[in-house]
């Protein structure tokens, strides 16, 4: 049995279940409690769980995130919201040094069981400073784990896995996904946990592999449908879900099957998850490639504001289809 939930509701349900499961879980962030969250992800949790478990913080990201890291060393399990992931820029030191390195520098004496979550995406016209998509950036720091769910079920399952994980996990959500709906298993069927590091084949196909994560998965699925309908091309869509750990086996499997790859990635062109995946594929499946690995990335400029053109700056079905068709 499963119900239809929005992505927002699914995350909330995951948070709620983990608050119930473990009294050390505490939600921290700007406007997460009394205001119910800037994007209403945490709606109702403060009313239900009270001041101790759901905590509003001042606008001091470095301060409160560092505080969460310190508390986690004593066994508290903070789940912290960045109102936008873009605000990582003011807390970067805490995120990449204290969270990622303290275990290592102590020779394994410490671990930092924190979860950072919030939206990381372009497409809602909030301009250059609010549209960073830092999944590749954080995945490049050993010590951190990163995931980017595309569906409500994955969002719920991954947040629960993240909260139970004993390492720092950074979850990249998406403002444009919060309102989207999907089937989510009913709690009565047991804990719905999606392990970190496991990709999901969202559509089978045989001619080309489209590999994506986050909202780009939906763009890829839309493109695949059109490719099938209008061009008779059968595209497989692999949703990475986790960026680090990365499901390299699933990536190689689809490449070996279709021999053609398009990577869809909301990052800017220099780097991103897709540059890494591209390198891994050519390194480990070189002989299976019938054509160069192609990418669809965000047009390589800071995010524009204009609603008239921002959709064109991002990966979208039209750009994906064009890329697939251009591969011949």
């Amino acid at each position: 049995m499963s119900r239809t939930l929005t992505y927002r509701e699914a995350i909330r349900e995951g948070l709620d279940e983990e608050l119930a499961r473990d009294e050390n879980v505490v939600i921290l962030g700007e406007e997460v409690a009394q205001y119910n969250g800037a994007y209403k992800v945490t709606e109702g949790l403060w009313a239900k769980w009270g001041d101790k478990r759901v905590v509003d913080t001042p606008i001091s990201e470095a301060g409160f995130i560092g505080m969460g890291i310190g508390a986690s060393m004593l066994g508290v399990r903070p789940v912290m919201e960045l109102m936008f992931w873009s605000f990582h820029s003011v807390a970067f030191d805490q995120l990449v040094n204290n969270a990622a390195c303290v275990r290592y520098m102590s020779g394994g004496l410490i671990n930092v069981p924190i979860v950072m979550r919030g939206p990381a995406n372009g497409g809602n016209n909030v301009g250059a400073t609010h549209c960073h998509v830092p999944e590749a950036l954080f995945a490049s720091f050993p010590g951190l784990k990163v995931c980017a769910p595309a569906t409500p079920a994955d969002a719920k399952g991954l947040i629960k896995a993240a909260i139970r994980d004993n390492d720092p996990v950074y979850i990249m959500e998406n403002v444009l996904l919060y309102g989207t709906s999907g089937e989510v298993p009913d709690p009565s069927e047991g804990d719905h946990v999606v392990p970190l590091g496991k990709a999901d084949l969202k559509r089978e196909g045989k001619d080309v592999s489209i590999i994506a994560h986050g909202r780009s998965v939906l763009q890829a699925l839309a493109a695949a449908e059109t490719l099938q309908q209008e061009h008779g091309i059968s595209a497989e869509v692999l949703d990475l879900r986790s960026i680090r750990p990365l499901d390299v086996d699933a990536i190689l499997a689809t490449v070996r099957k279709t021999n053609r790859v398009v990577l869809v990635d909301e990052s800017k062109g220099f780097g991103g998850v897709s540059a890494m995946v591209s390198h891994v594929i050519q390194d480990e499946a070189f002989d299976y490639l019938d054509a160069p690995i192609k990418r669809v990335t965000t047009l390589d400029a800071p995010a524009t504001y204009s609603p008239h053109i921002e959709p064109h700056q991002l990966p979208n079905p039209a750009r994906i289809i064009e890329r697939v068709l251009s591969m011949g």
């Binding site: 250059a128 524009t304 204009s306």
Partner: protein
């Protein structure tokens, strides 16, 4: 925070206010009315789906931008956060370029690349328009550094909110400002809330937020933002301190916003009581207070009030038409304005690959 029972002094007599002639006083009034009418038009068309992203309205706070920026000369510079429309209009930007920016049109002040949070007019010494809370505070310091470095007698006004004071970058800026003796005036526009969080829930402080200046051996003052004379009088002192002595100041100006944090903030009647909002509108509205004052002084008449209001409304309506009829930016234009060198097709721009869109 400035409390209602603080003894009210009359700042009309301060030299900087005595120097105002009737026309200038009416000019200040007109500016405030124009800001309000501009934003009301923006609100209307935002709600009609004509704009994207955020819209942070300044309505209720007009006296702060208008009062402080009315003191600026050729060598005074200013910079603010995302609640930036009023500062833009105060320094002389046109409603057209501002409205077109909200519409994301190519004719916008930032060519549609900035949106509501990112208005700029460097030619008018206005450096934006910044979205990261307190991220502009070191930039404001830098404007002051530039002035001093170049030997110019000017001040940098740097605005921030009451919630922004708890960001690390602001603290670093304060120490640097005092240590290097830089001509910056930090203006805390204290509207009592950062989004849904009241000042009490975001800041620990003794008397007021500006008092934190003392830890840096820096001057500070508290200002009743509802009184344009007071805003001007106290800001003038701070700016002169900056210009003449290269000493920074924190001013905390008590004010209030009538709308939510942004228009997306449907909550704002939950975290504030209707009485609180109504009380401010009735008793502290800076436009109404200034209007009454100028009527009392015999400088404003009912006819003039109506005329100014009508003109402002018409100007706002015209700006909407301008924005509506302006072209959207082209998709190609996305790739402009990234690098100065490539925009200017310099030799440097021709070496190596600058852009990496696959």
């Amino acid at each position: 925070m400035y409390s209602a029972d603080t003894q009210q002094l009359d700042f009309a007599g301060s030299p900087i206010n005595q120097a105002l002639d009737a026309k200038q006083k009416v000019g200040l009034y007109r500016k405030m009315v124009r800001i309000r009418r501009f934003e009301q038009a923006a609100l209307k068309y935002y709600n009609a789906g004509k704009m994207g992203g955020f819209l942070h309205l300044y309505i209720g706070q007009e006296s702060v931008a208008v009062g402080t920026l009315s003191l600026c000369g050729d060598h005074d510079h200013n910079i603010t956060a995302y609640r930036c429309h009023a500062h833009a209009l105060s320094v002389g930007m046109s409603m057209n370029e501002c409205m077109a920016e909200l519409y994301g049109k190519a004719t916008g002040c930032s060519k549609g690349k900035g949106g509501s949070m990112h208005f700029f007019a460097p030619d008018k010494n206005y450096w934006g328009g910044h979205g990261i809370v307190a991220g502009q505070t070191p930039l404001g310091l830098g404007l002051a550094y530039g002035l001093k470095y170049k030997g110019l007698e000017g001040a940098a006004l740097c605005y921030l909110g009451d919630g922004a004071v708890n960001q690390g970058a602001f603290h670093e800026s304060l120490n640097l400002a005092a240590l290097f003796e830089l001509p910056v005036v930090y203006v805390i526009e204290n509207n009592g809330y950062s989004m849904g969080t009241s000042q009490k829930r975001s800041s620990s402080f003794k008397g007021c937020l500006a008092q934190r200046a003392e830890g840096y051996d820096m001057e500070w003052d508290l200002v009743n933002g509802a009184d344009l004379y007071e805003v001007r009088a106290k800001t003038h002192i701070a700016m002169e301190r900056a210009r003449k002595q290269h000493k920074p100041t924190i001013l905390e100006i008590a004010t209030y916003r009538y709308y939510g944090h942004s228009i997306a903030d449907a909550n704002h009647k939950k975290y504030r009581t209707p009485e609180e909002i109504e009380n401010y509108k009735q008793n502290h509205d800076p436009i109404r207070l200034w209007e009454r004052r100028l009527v009392d002084e015999g400088v404003l008449t009912d006819d003039l009030i109506k005329e100014i209001d009508l003109e402002a409304k018409q100007e706002a309506a015209a700006s909407v038409e301008f924005a509506e009829s302006s072209p959207a930016p082209t998709v190609d234009s996305i790739m402009n304005d990234v690098y100065w060198e490539t925009d200017n097709q310099t030799d440097a721009s021709k070496v190596g690959r600058h852009f990496f869109t696959d």
